[in-house]
């Protein structure tokens, strides 16, 4: 009796059972009744009843089975073309109703997936969606697609953020005077604000003789530029350590009292500390130090490292430009010196040429003079001989004259002595006279 099932198959089965029972009844009746007439009447009745039953069954089947199936078929045809349709469900537990219900669920599921897909298409990756079941492959695929798209969007956002930041950094590096304080301040301010950090410091390397130290060239904290003088030796603290290790340091447990700047609202230790070397070709030219109350993500740290590299290139370029400028200046001075030397040499050459021409002229004159000199030499020779003759005569005359002069002098000296002697004699006579006179006067007295 399990064949008496509810639903459509039950109805059809019951009709056939009734027909069969009626047929059997008719046959039994025919067997039980001898009269043909009764039999034929019975057959007619039974046949009529059977036809009526068949008609009724056909109607019922048509209404209860064919129409719904046809509706289901239409709906499925539309769904196969991608239409979202609404399907009427009839209450019941028969197969047709169950199919209708399942189809309705399926359509609803498709609608939800469609809406979800639309939302994903609009970029709303946070739209809630649950697969219909664990075996909902399409739903699971949609969810996975949404997750991947969300992840890619996040990645894209990070990339765009980095790209935009690098573009702005590029603008700052291009439009600010190289090596100027303004460059360092703008750079640091941008980095701190772009990362939503709280404090930042920029150090540049100074190498004085054998000592290497980092000097703070810019400082920014709590939305304000700060003015601090700070020098850090190589190896001293995190910053000095970064200089030696040439690698980024990122701490999420910042030592107490590490920071030297506090806000007016009070002291608070930052959540994280980032120290990045300004490095180009493995040469460290400076350090960027950042402190923030929120942790920094990997892409933000990578962004700062890229900025550090660009900044290091700029600084290296500044130094190179400075050296180039100095060399150019030196070259210019040397060129000017060379030009002046060249000019001097040119003038010297001109003078030399003039001198050479003069020399040639003088040589010509010299030749002429030489000839003249030869003649003069001969005349001089003759004159010399004459002079020698005269000299001899003069020497002889001179000797005579000297002899005469000596004689004269001797004579003169003799006369002078004689005179002096005479004077002495006179003086003596004077004295004798005086004495005589004295004696005479005494005698008279």
């Amino acid at each position: 009796m399990k064949q008496f099932v509810f639903g459509l198959s039950g109805k059809i089965s019951n009709s056939y059972i009734i027909l069969v029972l009626l047929s059997i009844g008719a046959i039994v009746a025919c067997l039980l009744v001898d009269s043909l007439q009764l039999l034929s009447n019975l057959i007619i009745v039974i046949s009529s009843l059977s036809m009526l039953t068949a008609i009724i069954s056909s109607y019922v089947v048509n209404r209860r089975v064919v129409v719904p199936i046809r509706e289901i078929e239409v709906a499925i045809a539309k769904i196969s073309k991608g239409e979202v349709v609404k399907i009427e469900t009839t209450p019941g537990q028969d197969e047709i109703s169950l199919i209708q219900v399942s189809l309705a669920y399926m359509i609803e599921g498709l609608q939800m997936k469609s809406v979800f897909a639309s939302e994903i298409g609009r970029g709303n990756y946070d739209k809630a969606f649950e697969p219909l079941s664990e075996k909902d492959a399409i739903g699971a695929a949609l969810v996975e697609m949404r997750n991947n798209l969300k992840k890619n969007a996040a990645e894209e956002r990070k990339r765009n953020w980095s790209t935009a930041g690098m573009a702005q950094i590029g603008e700052i590096l291009r439009h600010t005077n190289e090596g100027s304080q303004q460059l360092y301040d703008q750079l640091l301010t941008f980095i701190v604000k772009y990362l939503n950090a709280n404090q930042g410091a920029l150090f540049l390397l100074h190498e004085e003789q054998a000592n290497r130290c980092l000097e703070m060239v810019s400082c920014y904290a709590y939305n304000r530029k700060k003015y601090l003088n700070k020098r850090i030796a190589a190896g001293e603290g995190l910053v000095g350590q970064t200089l030696l290790e040439k690698d980024t340091i990122y701490l999420t447990e910042v030592p107490e009292d590490y920071l030297t700047i506090t806000s007016g609202l009070g002291n608070a230790n930052p959540r994280c500390l980032l120290v990045v070397p300004l490095k180009v070709n493995d040469v460290v030219l400076g350090i960027i130090e950042l402190a923030s109350f929120h942790t920094l993500e990997k892409y933000q740290i990578e962004f700062v490292e890229k900025i550090a590299e660009s900044t290091a290139s700029t600084i290296a370029s500044v130094k190179t430009n400075e050296i180039t400028r100095t060399l150019l200046e030196e070259t210019r001075r040397q060129t000017e010196h060379m030009r002046s030397v060249e000019e001097e040499m040119r003038q010297n050459m001109e003078e030399l040429m003039a001198t050479q021409e003069n020399q040639l002229r003088l040589q010509e004159e010299l030749k002429v003079n030489e000839a003249k000199m030869k003649v003069s030499l001969q005349e001089l020779q003759a004159a010399k001989e004459q002079l020698e003759r005269k000299e001899a005569e003069l020497i002889a005359a001179n000797e005579k004259s000297i002899a005469k002069s000596n004689k004269f002098r001797e004579k003169m000296e003799a006369m002078d002595m004689e005179l002096e002697g005479k004077v002495s004699q006179i003086n003596m006579l004077k004295q004798a006279n005086q004495e005589l006179l004295k004696k005479l006067s005494q005698y008279k007295n």
Partner: protein, 177 residues
């Protein structure tokens, strides 16, 4: 200074060291090499002092004392004995000559204007000891001592002369007898 002194020096240098030495002395003193001193000339004092104290010692390689001793001897025994023979005639001894020196100095220079001959003052300390005061701005008392010794040589008498100061000397004539 009277040119007779220079004439004496000229003869002294020429006879002992040669004419060229004298000409060199003349040139280095500032005179021409053929300069002739006349006996009655008034020669510049500074040039004379330079000639006697610097040039002659250098050229003739003598000390100043040697120059004065040589001059003192030559002045009395060679030059003075010849030129000033009348003065010597009246003196029979060194003592008489020394006592006459002041008169000789004065009479020799009385014709020279602005002449400042050295003057001598005499004081007998005893019969044979005479104190002579040499008065002259030239400060050549050592030269006077040399002349006194020269006089002793002329008269062949020994003298004992003691220089008491830059102005005073004592002559002891007792050994002269």
């Amino acid at each position: 200074m009277k040119g007779t002194v220079h004439k004496c020096i000229e003869k002294l240098i020429t006879e002992n060291f040669g004419r060229p030495a004298w000409e060199k002395c003349l040139v280095e003193t500032g005179f021409d090499e053929d300069h002739v001193f006349m006996m009655n000339d008034d020669v510049d004092e500074a040039a004379t002092m330079k000639l006697v104290t610097e040039v002659i010692p250098r050229v003739c390689n003598l000390s100043l004392q040697q120059v004065m001793d040589t001059f003192g001897h030559y002045w009395i025994n060679e030059y003075g004995a010849k030129v000033y023979a009348p003065y010597f005639e009246g003196c029979k001894s060194t003592k008489e000559l020394i006592l006459k020196l002041d008169f000789i100095h004065k009479s020799l220079t009385e014709n020279i204007p602005n002449a400042r001959p050295p003057r001598l003052k005499y004081e007998w300390l005893s019969d044979n000891k005479l104190a002579v005061t040499y008065i002259s701005e030239r400060g050549l008392i050592d030269l006077f001592i040399s002349i006194a010794h020269g006089a002793g040589t002329y008269y062949k008498e020994k003298l004992n002369i003691v220089k008491k100061s830059d102005q005073v000397l004592e002559i002891d004539f007792s050994a002269a007898k």
